[in-house]
């Protein structure tokens, strides 16, 4: 199981099917919440995750198997809701507290 320390996180990538719709929306929201952390949030199609530099992958549960296939060694955080998701809130909290972050 992959994990990463919050201080090493420089770039988070949000993945969706096309990398142009829902992932952009989630990435923009997350970037706002992480403004003070100097973490960039980008978006990508799930098929091109391997070519996108990142420390953490954020993906909806429905696409998580493909994300794991694409980048088996990355920390993959799975969310269920596009608005107000608990796992995303937890991730933001962990990043702000400097915790270690692992798959979930």
């Amino acid at each position: 199981m992959a994990s990463v320390s919050a201080s090493d996180v420089k770039q988070i990538v949000v993945a969706c099917e096309a990398g142009m719709g829902s992932s952009v929306m989630v990435a923009r929201q997350l970037a706002k919440q992480l403004k003070s952390q100097e973490i960039t949030v980008v978006h990508s199609p799930v098929n091109q995750l391997a070519e996108t530099p990142h420390q953490i992958v954020l993906v909806h549960r429905g696409l998580s198997a493909r994300a794991k296939q694409a980048v088996p060694d990355s920390v993959v955080i799975i969310f269920d809701m596009f608005l107000g998701d608990l796992n995303i809130a937890k991730l933001v909290g962990a990043l702000q507290n400097g915790d270690t972050i692992s798959d979930g």
């Binding site: 199981m1 969706c16 099917e17 096309a18 142009m20 719709g21 829902s22 929306m25 199609p45 799930v46 098929n47 909806h60 549960r61 429905g62 696409l63 998580s64 198997a65 493909r66 794991k68 296939q69 799975i78 269920d80 809701m81 596009f82 608005l83 107000g84 608990l86 798959d103 979930g104």
Partner: protein
């Protein structure tokens, strides 16, 4: 919830991940080019003889764009996904062979030959690269692509074009048979559940869109663009969740309604359905009602509305079709709302909020345990 989405919480890759991947690749060739589709769709809606501002000069761009530009862009993008810029170039070259070999818009053919030729070139490069003498890289690189591209275009002209034209004909005839026998609403039984499983782009851009443009090229509009993209069913579901859903979900529903209906990001309502899978019935009924309305009123769109927002819908609705299009959206939203509302009300008895929270806890534990 984890039970309903088998490929999610575990690491396994079931048939769904495979289907998604195939569909994702098809959609991945189309979606980056949607801007060009919109340019073409607007030109069509405005300037063709039955458009808002008929203009012979401007409408002369409509044919070349749909027949040449859009398939070449798809072949280009398909090649680029497989083998970068060289793949994109050979994909474009080969696509021309497919286009000229037939007289219908060759989206499906471009989706096949673009990646195929890029894949072949990738292997050619793999063989030639190690044995290329220093200083000959450019010569060999250019001619290997050029020769392979020529052969690919010939292959497209002779083989893939006619085959795909045949397949498109069969599928198109199947669709007209469904329309003639008033069976097209049944398509919602397949489309709506597949959407929820994140196959929305694959269905729309991979299958329905390519068939739709063939019809739109002949008749000026197609109902096929509306089967997957109708924002009505999702709207009905979200309103039902807002008024009758689990308390935890109600708060986010209004925001989701705006993003879904106005912004056109349909993905936003899928998680709500995944949490209450029975609600998919509302989506199916709503979708079928919408398709039936579109069919009875005889409306269609000139291009794929992408994203599936009400604004995109109105932009690609040809003159005289607005009433039927809006009626279909409203009726489908109403139907899906009523069905979803009843399902949510009835299921409340056996699924309280505590149970929902317990379910979330369970899925968290499962994740932690893996």
């Amino acid at each position: 919830m984890s039970d309903f989405i088998p490929s999610g919480s575990g690491g396994q890759s079931g048939w769904r991940a495979g289907m998604q991947k195939l569909g994702g690749n098809l959609a991945g060739m189309v979606i980056p080019n949607i801007g060009a589709f919109i340019a073409w769709g607007l030109l069509t809606a405005l300037f063709i003889p039955t458009g808002w501002l008929p203009n012979e000069n401007f409408s002369s761009m409509v044919g070349p764009m749909i027949l040449n530009l859009l398939p070449i862009l798809i072949g280009y993008t398909g090649g680029r996904i497989v083998h970068g810029q060289r793949g994109a170039v050979i994909g474009s070259v080969a696509t021309v062979g497919v286009i000229v070999g037939t007289d219908i818009p060759m989206f499906l053919g471009a989706m096949i030959i673009g990646p195929l030729m890029a894949w072949i070139l990738k292997y050619i490069d793999k063989v030639l690269d190690p044995i290329t003498p220093p200083g000959f890289e450019m010569l060999i690189g250019n001619f290997s692509l050029g020769i392979a591209g020529m052969l690919g275009a010939m292959l497209g002209y002779l083989g893939i074009g006619p085959i795909v034209a045949g397949i498109t004909n069969v599928l198109g005839n199947g669709v007209s048979w469904l329309v003639d026998n008033s069976l097209l609403p049944l398509a919602s039984v397949l489309i709506e559940p597949a959407k929820i499983l994140f196959m929305n782009n694959a269905i729309n851009h991979g299958v329905l869109g390519p068939l739709g443009v063939v019809e739109a090229e002949e008749t000026g509009k197609s109902i096929l663009f509306m089967l997957e993209t109708n924002p009505g069913p999702g709207l009905g579901i979200l309103v039902a969740f807002w008024l009758a859903g689990p308390k935890l979900l109600r708060g986010s529903a209004p925001g989701a309604i705006i993003i879904h209906f106005l912004g056109g990001i349909h993905e936003i309502y899928f998680p709500y359905v995944l949490l209450k899978p029975q609600v998919v019935l509302g989506a199916i009924v709503g979708g079928a009602v919408g398709v039936a309305t579109f069919m009875v009123t005889g409306v269609g769109l000139v291009a794929t509305p992408s994203p599936g927002s009400i604004f995109a819908y109105l932009a690609v609705t040809p003159p005289g079709n607005h009433l039927g299009v809006l009626l279909g959206i409203v009726l489908s939203a109403a139907a899906s709302f009523v069905v979803s509302w009843f399902i949510l009300r009835l299921s409340k008895v056996d699924s309280t909020e505590e149970e929902f929270e317990a379910a979330q806890q369970r899925s968290k534990e499962m994740k932690a345990g893996k």
